[in-house]
Amino acid sequence: MAVVVGHRFPEREFYVDPVRVEEFVFALGVDPEPGYRAEIGAPVPPGFLMYVTTYGADPVHDALEFDLLRTVFGGVDEEFLAPVRLGDRLTVRPRISDITEKSGGSGRLTFVEVTTEYLLGDGTVAVRERSTIVQRG
């Protein structure tokens, strides 16, 4: 494991691009609210803001030296502290908040928790996300 608990990735800006949200809602085929339109000022569908989407999976997974073939997304826990709107420019701040290893029937499993904060332009933390990535073997 190349990184340790507490490792912080450099901050990155993420533009909440209506086009990407439109693609996301099209993929789902279910609107987050009846009559939803992915345009500037609309709320962000739950599930869109994830570090994989906003920061890019590669820098995090590369730092972990994870083999994508053995890696699955385990889950996510989000706290919504302030509204985020399409068109906002967020600062994305991921860090490695926990690494645990377990041995089970299917062999060794490594659970990595990435905690990511999303900050509005005024510095307010709008969303705090904890994602779990699981690597087998």
């Binding site: 789902l28 609107d31 987050p32 994989v52 997304f73 889950g75 996510v76 989000e78 919504f80």
Partner: protein, 140 residues
């Protein structure tokens, strides 16, 4: 958004039955997320991971469970949202959501409603479970 005025423990939010999560939807999710993982796109690559075909992104089950809440109460009412993924979703799968009220707490900041969430395939396989909390609008 308008919403039901008062939730009780045991109430359910309307279920969502998703469209089939076909390969086109999976491709769009890859594009939207800028996801580099070929396990969602190429069967040969997925086979190397021991899978019978490509798998859908975890964001499908996560977001459909989110939509089960946000369609009922509005995106802005959500305060907390957790989903654990427990089984893979394959091309063609249809998911059905369940959201059941487990708690209603009223404090100085208003009323917060807790729900438990579950997403299952047509054959009954559960693919995700979780919890959410949302603010109930003050009675008019």
């Amino acid at each position: 958004m308008t919403t039901q005025m008062s939730y009780q423990i045991g109430d359910t939010l309307p279920e969502i039955v998703t469209p089939a999560i076909d390969r086109m939807r999976i491709a769009y999710m890859t594009v939207s997320m800028r996801d580099p993982n070929l396990v969602h796109l190429e069967d040969d690559y997925a086979a190397k991971a021991g899978l019978p075909s490509v798998i859908a992104h975890g964001t499908f089950a996560v977001s459909h469970l989110g939509a089960a809440v946000s369609r009922a109460v509005g995106v802005d009412a959500l305060t907390q949202f957790r989903v654990d993924l427990v089984a893979p979703v394959f091309p063609g799968d249809v998911l059905r959501t369940e959201a059941t009220v487990t708690g209603v707490e009223t404090g100085d900041g208003g009323t917060v409603v807790s729900v438990k969430l579950s997403a299952t395939k047509a054959d009954g396989t559960r693919v995700a479970r979780g919890t959410a909390a949302f603010r109930e609008p003050a009675a008019a």
